[in-house]
């Protein structure tokens, strides 16, 4: 097994960053060995990167379903346990129940979408991470793994594409 190093190349614009991704691919770096860190969301197609998978929508859908069922239980299940007689209305009225079910379903949907971001992104992450603060000033960082023995070759390739800095990066406390 070959030793690998993690390098970080910092670019000013999207165009050279996209070229860097292409060059890394041609140099044998697999897509899952590359990550792009940026201060704004960038289209995967703009960088020539594979589409990222997310389960946030599925989790949200599941949350909506759970909320819907909870709403049904509150509206139509609990009257079995605590019967509340309201003048002129049945014990299990449908129209008021719809309101309850709607609110609970929406709360479930949004609550799990919110939690989904945390779960999927592994938030909160207070341990040291590979990062460079220049990213929040608009720079684009291409983070990639390369064979330790060929590191210099990769550094030169990134510099040739206009990288402002290239080097190994250690995990740091953000």
């Amino acid at each position: 097994m070959t030793d690998t190093n993690t390098l970080l190349a910092l670019f000013k614009d999207v165009d050279p960053a996209a070229e860097a991704v292409e060059r890394l691919r041609s140099m044998g770096v697999r897509d899952n060995q590359v990550d792009i860190i940026s201060g704004i969301p960038l289209l995967e197609t703009a960088l020539g990167r594979p589409k990222k998978h997310t389960n946030v929508a599925r989790l949200a859908l599941g949350g909506a379903g759970a909320g819907f069922l909870l709403g049904l239980f509150l509206a139509y299940g609990t009257p079995y346990l605590f019967t509340v007689h309201v003048g002129g209305q049945p014990v299990y009225p449908i129209p008021p129940g719809i309101i309850l079910v709607f609110e609970m379903a929406m709360l479930g949907l949004m609550g799990t979408a919110f939690l989904g971001v945390f779960l999927e992104s592994n938030f909160p992450a207070y341990h040291p991470l590979k990062y460079i603060p220049e990213v929040s000033d608009g720079k684009i960082a291409v983070l990639f793994e390369c064979p330790a023995l060929e590191q210099e070759k990769f550094v030169q390739a990134m510099q040739a594409l206009g990288a402002e800095s290239v080097g190994t990066v250690e995990a740091r406390q953000l």
Binding site: G39, T54, A60, V86, M106, M110, Y126, G138
Partner: protein, 478 residues
């Protein structure tokens, strides 16, 4: 005939429409680092004026909210002006008003995001903060109205030794659920797009601020997967929070409309309330933007006349819609011929509250409709601030007329009475002071401008040659 045609197609009319592209924030790009510094600078810069106003607001909250509420809790609701038949007084006027204000954030942020209205970008957060802080005031006002506020947990559905269960058939329970859902959802919706800006603030801070932002940004770096999860969730929220927003004020309207009372029992109350909420909410956003742009450092770069112009157009549209719903509600009761309903209308138009009724119409309809059609006025921030203030006065009066005003006249004439608020006046001042205080403190801790969204918009916009002119074009990079 030729002369007429010439007059209609004067080139001068064309030049009046001409705008300098540099006036537009999204075409007047600055480096991201510079924009970050500007926003961080605006949070750090505090003058003696800021602290004086803060101290004044803290004192007002202590006197008008804490002391007055404590007095009411100790003495009971008897110290308030509410009594038969006006058992719903200013507390509920304030509740409805603040929920209305809270609609601004969702409307501006979610709807304009869904519609891809680009002018929203620099002020979505300022509006979203209003939602959260407005809902806090609404919740406090309900708690005041409850009287025995320490028993509020009785509304929470859980098996208990009392053998009691919340009545989910009641609009008041729907209110509890809808407002809780909206408060939670709007707070989450405020937080999600804030994460990248908190990470930016973390990278630009030292000392206790760095620790504060490090905790809140939760290790966000801006990796591809983090952005994907965040954008997906934000899209879900933008679509999902809109029906919740509509449901909240509709349910608030049903608190009234479900009662068979003159002045309240109306099928149109739901949408009428929603439009009223948007009316006051948008007006409040213009007020806040004016104050921010005038008092916070560097904010004039982000908040420009074009934003007031865009909001002014929305306000004009909402003014017309509000007028339509008001007239619809009014004429059905007028035509219906119900004796008590007509008596109530006459009471509101000619009785002791008549000044309020007509002032409401002037503030909510006449002044906005006469001013907001004018582009020059829409692009003058202080004018928009004044119009916003007038609309909010009008909307508060509208709620006063609907709640204690309508309760004055009922089907039992021997109970008719005019409502005079007592301790409620102090508590009202207290909620306004608390809202301002929270907003002022937040403005020094939270980046009020979503810098990453502004930069995203600036990257998407550019000037292209079109014939002999240069026009703004937008690339779909989202």
């Amino acid at each position: 005939m030729l002369a007429t045609v010439k007059a209609l197609f004067r080139p001068a009319a064309h030049s009046e429409e001409h705008e300098d592209p540099a006036e537009h924030l999204l075409l007047d790009a600055r480096p991201r680092g510079e924009m970050n510094d500007m926003v961080m600078d605006s949070m750090h810069a505090t003058s003696w004026k800021f602290w004086t106003v803060t101290m004044f607001l803290i004192l007002t909250v202590l006197v008008c909210l804490v002391t007055a509420w404590g007095y009411m809790i100790a003495e009971g609701l008897g110290v308030a002006g509410v009594n038969q038949p006006e058992y719903w007084g200013i507390f509920l006027v304030n509740t409805v008003f603040w929920i209305g204000i809270s609609h601004a954030g969702t409307f501006v942020s979610a709807l304009l995001r869904v519609l891809k209205a680009e002018f929203r970008r620099p002020f979505t957060r300022a509006a979203e903060l209003m939602t959260t802080f407005g809902l806090i005031q609404a919740g406090l006002s309900i708690f005041m109205h409850l009287g025995r506020v320490w028993l509020v947990y009785w509304m929470v559905p859980y098996p208990n030794e009392r053998g009691l269960w919340p009545d989910f058939h009641s609009p008041l329970m729907w209110d509890f659920l809808a407002i809780s859902t909206y408060l939670l959802a709007s707070t989450m919706y405020l937080f999600l797009p804030l994460i990248p800006d908190l990470a930016m603030a973390r990278d630009h801070s030292t000392g206790w601020r760095k620790i504060f932002y490090r905790i809140l940004s939760m290790g966000f770096r801006g990796s591809e997967s983090e952005w994907t999860h965040l954008k997906t969730a934000m899209n879900i929220f933008a679509f999902a929070i809109l029906p919740v927003m509509f449901s909240v004020h509709t349910i608030v309207a049903w608190d009234f409309a479900m009662a068979i009372r003159p002045g309240w029992s109306s099928t149109i109350f739901g949408p009428y309330f929603v439009v009223g909420a948007l009316h006051s909410g948008l007006a409040a956003v213009t007020m806040v933007l004016f104050i921010i742009s005038r008092t916070m450092k560097n904010m004039k770069y982000f908040i420009r006349p074009e934003h007031f112009d865009g909001l002014g157009k929305l306000m004009l549209m909402i003014t017309m819609t509000w007028g339509y719903f008001f007239f619809n509600d009014y004429i059905v009761e007028w035509y219906g011929g119900d004796t008590i309903a007509r008596t109530l209308q006459k009471f509101l138009e000619t009785g002791p509250l008549a000044w309020m009724f007509f002032l409401m119409l002037i503030c909510n309809f006449a002044i906005p409709i006469l001013t907001l059609w004018n582009k020059k006025l829409r692009r003058t921030p202080w004018v928009m601030f004044v119009i916003g203030l007038i609309i909010n006065i009008g909307m508060w009066l509208e709620r006063y007329i609907i709640i204690p005003g309508s309760l004055s006249i009922n089907r039992m004439p021997f109970t008719w009475r005019i409502y005079f608020p007592r301790v409620e006046v102090f508590l009202t001042i207290g909620t306004f002071a608390l809202f301002l205080l929270l907003y002022m403190l937040a403005s020094r801790l939270i980046p009020l401008v979503p810098v990453w969204e502004v930069q995203e918009g600036q990257l998407a916009h550019s000037l292209s040659k079109f014939g002999k002119t240069r026009v703004a074009t937008k690339a779909e990079i989202e």
